[in-house]
C-alpha cells in the first residue's frame, strides 16, 4: 500500500481527520447553543423534567455543558494540530520545524484534558456530594503515558528538524 497519494493509508487518515474535525466544530456549536438555552429558558418548563439529571437544571446544567464544550474545544485544538502535521507529511516534509511545537502543544493539551477531567470530577463530586457518597478521582495512567509518548515524539521530531536543516545545507 502506498504511503502517499490517492488510495494510500494517509489519504484514509486525512479523510478520518477531516470528518472528526468538522464533527467537533458541529458538536462545539451545539454545546454552546445548548448551554446558552439552559441559561435563558425558564426553570419551570415541563421539558426540564425529561432532561433533568441529579437535580441539575438551568445554570448548573449550563455549567456542565460549558465544561463539556471546553473538553471538545481542547480535542478540536489537538485535531487541528494533527491535521497541520498531516499536511506537512502529505507535502513530503514531515520534519518541518513547526511540527515540534505542534507536538508539544498536543502533549500539553492532552495533559490539560486530564486535568479538566479531574477538575470536573472534583466539582461534580462536591456539588452532588449527597448523591455520590464517595469522591471520584479517575486517575488514568494510560492518558499520562500518551502525554509522555507525545513529548518523546516531539523530541524525535526536533532531532529530525535539525537533520533536515543540515541536509538543506549539504551540497
Amino acid at each position: 500500500m502506498r504511503a502517499l497519494g490517492p488510495g494510500s493509508v494517509s489519504s484514509l487518515l486525512k479523510l478520518v481527520l477531516d470528518v472528526i474535525f468538522f464533527a467537533l466544530w458541529a458538536a462545539l456549536a451545539l454545546l454552546l447553543v445548548a448551554a446558552l438555552l439552559a441559561l435563558l429558558l425558564p426553570s419551570d418548563l415541563a421539558f426540564w423534567g425529561r432532561i433533568e439529571a441529579h437535580g441539575a437544571r438551568g445554570a448548573m446544567l449550563s455549567a456542565g455543558l460549558l465544561a463539556f464544550a471546553a473538553y471538545v474545544a481542547v480535542v478540536l485544538f489537538i485535531t487541528q494540530r494533527v491535521r497541520r502535521i498531516f499536511t506537512t507529511l502529505t507535502m513530503g516534509d514531515p520534519f518541518h520545524p513547526a511540527n515540534v511545537a505542534r507536538l508539544r502543544n498536543i502533549g500539553f493539551a492532552l495533559a490539560g484534558l486530564e486535568l479538566i477531567n479531574y477538575g470536573v470530577n472534583l466539582v461534580t463530586g462536591w456539588v452532588f456530594r449527597d448523591e455520590f457518597k464517595t469522591l471520584r478521582f479517575p486517575f488514568n495512567p494510560t492518558a499520562w503515558f500518551a502525554v509522555l509518548v507525545v513529548f518523546v515524539l516531539a523530541e524525535v521530531f526536533r532531532e529530525g528538524a535539525r537533520l533536515r536543516s543540515e541536509a538543506e545545507l549539504t551540497i
Binding site: E166, L169, T170, I171
Partner: protein
C-alpha cells in the same frame, strides 16, 4: 567557519561563470551560491568530485583552513 571555500577564485582563474559551472556539475545555482558564500554545513564527496572534474583542480584548490573560533562552540 574556519574552512573557507575558494570557489570564487577558481572560477575567476578558469574564466567560468557560476551558471555555467552549475550546468556542468548538475547542481542548482542556489546550491552553488550557498557553497560559494560559505553557508554550507557539509559538502558531499561526490560534489567535490564533480567540481574538481569540471574545474580541473584538486580539492585543496577549493578549500582553505584558516584557524579561528569554531561555529559549534
Amino acid at each position: 567557519m574556519a574552512v573557507r571555500i575558494l570557489l570564487d577564485r577558481v572560477l575567476v582563474e578558469r574564466r567560468m561563470s557560476l551558471a555555467e559551472l552549475a550546468d556542468r556539475v548538475g547542481l542548482t545555482i542556489a546550491n552553488l551560491t550557498i557553497l560559494k558564500s560559505g553557508r554550507a554545513r557539509a559538502i558531499r564527496v561526490s560534489t567535490i568530485d564533480s567540481l574538481c572534474r569540471e574545474l580541473d583542480c584538486q580539492p585543496g584548490d577549493l578549500l582553505a583552513f584558516e584557524p579561528g573560533p569554531s561555529d559549534d562552540a
